[in-house]
């Protein structure tokens, strides 16, 4: 046991200060996408909806409905329409109402 004691002392503190302070390891976490509404066309939206493996994305005529809760951050939508998708820096998404995670993204791109 003294072995372990000394080890621990030498190892020092690794514990994060989160949530009091931000934690920089968060930088590498997969995050759900954010969308550039002006680059977003119906076609691009449909492509994204098609490749989305889950029910996270769907399109209501001129709105891309994005269910953040269902998003696995797989990044396929970004591959399908690179210019319309930007990384959202968000991982603190926990909420008390499921519906608060469902976002309407206006499709402002394309003709019109």
């Amino acid at each position: 046991m003294p072995l372990w004691f000394v080890r621990g002392l030498r190892r020092g503190v690794v514990t994060t200060r989160y949530p009091a302070r931000p934690d920089d390891s968060a930088a590498w976490l997969p995050r759900p996408p954010a969308f550039r509404s002006w680059q977003l066309t119906r076609e691009a939206a449909d492509r994204m909806v098609a490749v989305c493996p889950g029910p996270a994305l769907s399109r209501r005529d001129d709105t891309l409905v994005f269910d953040v809760g269902a998003c696995t951050a797989c990044g396929r939508c970004a591959e399908a329409a690179p210019d319309a998708v930007a990384p959202s820096g968000e991982f603190e998404l926990a909420t008390t109402s499921r519906s608060a995670l469902i976002k309407d993204i206006p499709i402002r791109g394309g003709g019109r």
Partner: protein, 168 residues
């Protein structure tokens, strides 16, 4: 599905009770309803030195009898209904149910004969933590939200990245 006002009201009152009654000592029981074993690993890591949820007054307890918060992962397999209900009923009130991970939020498996598709179909969920898997940091945030220590940001987020990138 738009939020009914009273539902949010109930949730808020519950959170106040929890915060009031359990202060800085809240006991967590986990429940795997068909996850792929990754959420479980992230949850285990909450107790690891890097995250050490004990410093925040959270503790894991194997007995639902002592648990105040149920951390549910997986798409709620139908074959698991009995166990899930029993676990929930075994907990003393007031109790919080936290749906953890994309499966639990209906992001992976659709509702079908195998699974309910999301935890809300069987248990009254109070807090939803997205992510596949939700990282320990996301879990810590979710737990803090569950006991009302942190204000939730999700309703304010638009996920529209026009001009400046980022979420808000």
């Amino acid at each position: 599905m738009n939020p009914s006002q009273d539902e949010a009201e109930v949730a808020r009152r519950l959170r106040d009770t929890i915060a009031g009654q359990f202060g800085r000592s809240l006991h967590i029981r986990t429940l795997d309803t068909g996850s792929c074993a990754v959420c479980e690993q992230e949850i285990r890591l909450l107790a690891a030195p890097h995250y050490d949820l004990h410093r925040l007054g959270f503790f894991f307890t194997p007995a639902p009898r002592h648990a105040d918060l149920l951390l549910v992962t997986g798409p709620m397999i139908r074959a698991f209904d009995v166990a899930a209900r029993k676990t929930y009923e075994a907990m003393p009130g007031p109790k919080v149910v936290v749906a953890t991970g994309a499966c639990a939020l209906g992001g992976v498996y659709p509702k079908d004969p195998f699974v309910h598709g999301n935890v809300g179909a069987l248990l009254p969920v109070d807090v939803w933590i997205p992510g596949c898997p939700p990282s320990p940091l996301a879990l810590l945030y979710g737990l803090s939200v569950a006991v009302g220590r942190l204000a939730e940001k999700a309703p304010g987020l638009t996920f529209i990245a026009d001009g400046d990138g980022g979420g808000a």
